[in-house]
């Protein structure tokens, strides 16, 4: 997995990290403290206080500093220690800091890269999914490697995401999937699609964004003539060799109540998706995510 440390990975929904909170996430086997100051952007650090190894995700956010749960050492957003309570009058030396990782927020999700600095985010496929109107829906955590799940998710036969779109209430996707196939470069799948009671006229395009790491971002875009395209994004997080996170985001409708419905809908769908992903022996016909 080492080569993928240079890549950007989704690890959480932006709205799952409110201001003033800290939590732990796992990426490629690394324990990471994710936190957000009262006014700031998300920070991703090695989850280990340099003092006595305490996991910083247990810390308390105080203003724009993270305070370690064990001895109250305070670190600013540059990951530099600014205060040691046991020595109130001493300025901590510059050497007291926490290793930090590149961290960006885009498309409703928080993205991390473990190696390299914070640059290069714009060049990645993750940035291609930047949507000002993104709506984070839900994260699920599934037994299985990213490779296995990616195969199951966007294999030759079916992109379950398109079925979700198909039945997405209020989004103009009442319809059925007619056929699907793979693009020549295997980077996307095309799904012919029609609305119930109408001639086939539109298609989903499922593209495997984020070729590094391969297929970690799956995007389903519904292209229609008479409506703006709508997208569903599934971003995969390789937590360990045996566990994978799937983060689901779609577009905001601009209406709070409709958005709430969308989150509820995709939340339910995501739970069924998890069951499907963890039961490779289950026939796909039996999987009706919207029911």
């Amino acid at each position: 997995m080492s080569e993928t440390r240079q890549d950007w990975h989704a690890v959480a929904g932006m709205s799952d990290l409110p201001a003033g909170t800290a939590r732990a996430v796992t990426l490629l086997g690394e324990d990471i403290a994710l936190w957000r100051g009262e006014s700031g952007s998300a920070q991703a650090w090695r989850n280990q206080c340099p003092h006595r190894g305490m996991r910083l995700s247990f810390g308390q956010v105080r203003g724009d500093r993270l305070s370690c749960r064990y001895h109250g050492w305070q670190f600013d957003t540059a990951a530099q220690c600014k205060f040691m309570p046991a020595h109130r009058k001493i300025s901590p030396p510059a050497s007291v800091c926490v290793p930090s990782y590149g961290c960006r927020e885009s498309g409703g999700l928080i993205w991390i890269r473990l190696a390299g600095d914070g640059d290069g985010f714009e060049d990645t496929a993750a940035a291609g999914d930047t949507q000002a109107d993104a709506l984070f829906c839900k994260s699920i955590f599934v037994d299985g490697s990213l490779e296995t799940l990616a195969d199951r998710l966007v294999g030759a036969y079916f992109p379950p995401a398109s079925r979700a779109l198909e039945a997405m209430p209020g989004a103009g996707f009442e319809g059925e999937v007619l056929d699907h196939g793979r693009g020549a470069d295997e980077s996307h799948a095309v799904v012919a699609w029609r609305r119930r009671g109408r001639e086939p006229e539109e298609a989903f395009s499922t593209s495997y964004h984020g070729m590094r790491p391969a297929r970690s971002v799956i995007r389903v875009v519904a292209k229609t003539e008479d409506e703006p395209p709508e997208a569903l994004m599934l971003a995969l997080q390789a937590m360990t060799e045996r566990r994978t996170g799937v983060h689901l985001a779609t577009q905001s409708s601009g209406n709070d109540e409709t958005d709430r419905q969308r989150r509820l809908y995709f939340g339910r769908w995501a739970r069924r998706l998890r069951w499907f992903l963890e039961h490779p022996e289950a026939p796909f016909d039996g999987f009706r995510p919207w029911t």
Binding site: D31, P50, H51, G53, M54, G72, P85, A86
Partner: protein, 286 residues
């Protein structure tokens, strides 16, 4: 197959059960330093302890002592007898055997946390410390050459509820005694007897390198508190520490001085790690 252990770990005395809990109808099947142990009390009261194979066959009888309310054994050949605690002979003290708490970390992390002063306001908030009284005043930590014990002296800390019997906040004097790497006792100003010290001790029983049963006692001048009240106070403190202890990385105690960054308040930990390194302790350290 149990791996070869170094003398520094083997030759210590370890508690495997409290005397009152090792009853004739209740043998203790447990582990010590990764090896299966069976402790039994006969109907006449005699305690035997044996090391067993993983399949439960007797390998050998182990030395056995009953002292300070606990049953002690060793897997090695200690050069010193079990350390003496003369305070157990003093009149007017109450012994509280606080039971056993399983903690998923190394014995070194447990002892070091026990010696730590600067975590009080953050982990035991409004009990053993409170912000902004977080300053740790200079104290001494020294290996006593004649006894081979680590002593930490001249410690003081402002504490809102120093003991179960405390009636209010007070500046409390502390000292610590580490008679062997994996056992520690603290002495703190007694609210029950002016000028005297109450004792609190921990005896980690390392089941595995990063898994311990921690036996804990208090020996106090306290005619006020109920047994349950004292037990509750001490267990509350220990549960707060457990959250910390089980979330330190790595779980083994790092002995390389560059692995973690201490401050002056960590003088006791610096000396403790240096001591373990010089003794050649390998079990439970990184």
């Amino acid at each position: 197959m149990s791996k070869d252990l170094e003398p520094a770990a083997l030759d210590q005395w370890y508690v495997i059960e409290s005397s009152e809990d090792l009853r004739s109808d209740q043998p203790r099947r447990t582990r010590l330093l990764g090896r299966p142990i069976l402790g039994e009390r006969s109907a006449s009261g005699t305690v035997t302890i044996e090391e067993r194979t993983e399949e439960g066959e007797t390998l050998r009888k182990l030395p056995c002592l009953e002292r300070y309310g606990y049953v002690w054994t060793t897997l090695g050949a200690p050069v010193k007898p079990l350390f003496d605690m003369p305070e157990f002979e003093e009149d007017g003290r109450r012994l509280v055997v606080c039971g056993v708490l399983t903690v998923r970390t190394s014995p070194g992390r447990i002892v070091e946390n026990f010696l730590d002063l600067s975590h009080f306001p953050f982990v035991h908030t409004d009990i053993l410390g409170a912000e902004p009284m977080t300053e740790v005043t200079p104290y001494k930590a020294k290996l006593d050459e004649s006894s081979g014990e680590l002593w930490v002296t001249e410690c003081g800390f402002y504490q809102p509820q120093a003991m179960a019997a405390s009636s209010g906040a007070a500046q409390v004097d502390y000292l610590y005694r580490v008679p062997q790497p994996y056992a520690a006792v603290l002495y703190k100003s007694s609210p029950g007897k002016a000028g005297a010290f109450d004792l609190i001790g921990i005896f980690p029983q390392p089941l595995e390198e990063t898994l311990c049963d921690v036996h804990c006692f208090m020996l106090v001048y306290d005619d006020v508190s109920s047994y349950e009240g004292m037990l509750q106070w001490q267990q509350g403190i220990f549960l707060q520490d457990r959250i910390i202890l089980e979330n330190q990385r790595p779980a083994r105690l790092p002995l390389d001085p560059k692995a973690e960054l201490p401050s002056r308040a960590d003088t006791s930990a610096i000396q403790y790690r240096r001591w373990l390194k010089n003794l050649g302790v390998e079990f439970g350290v990184a």
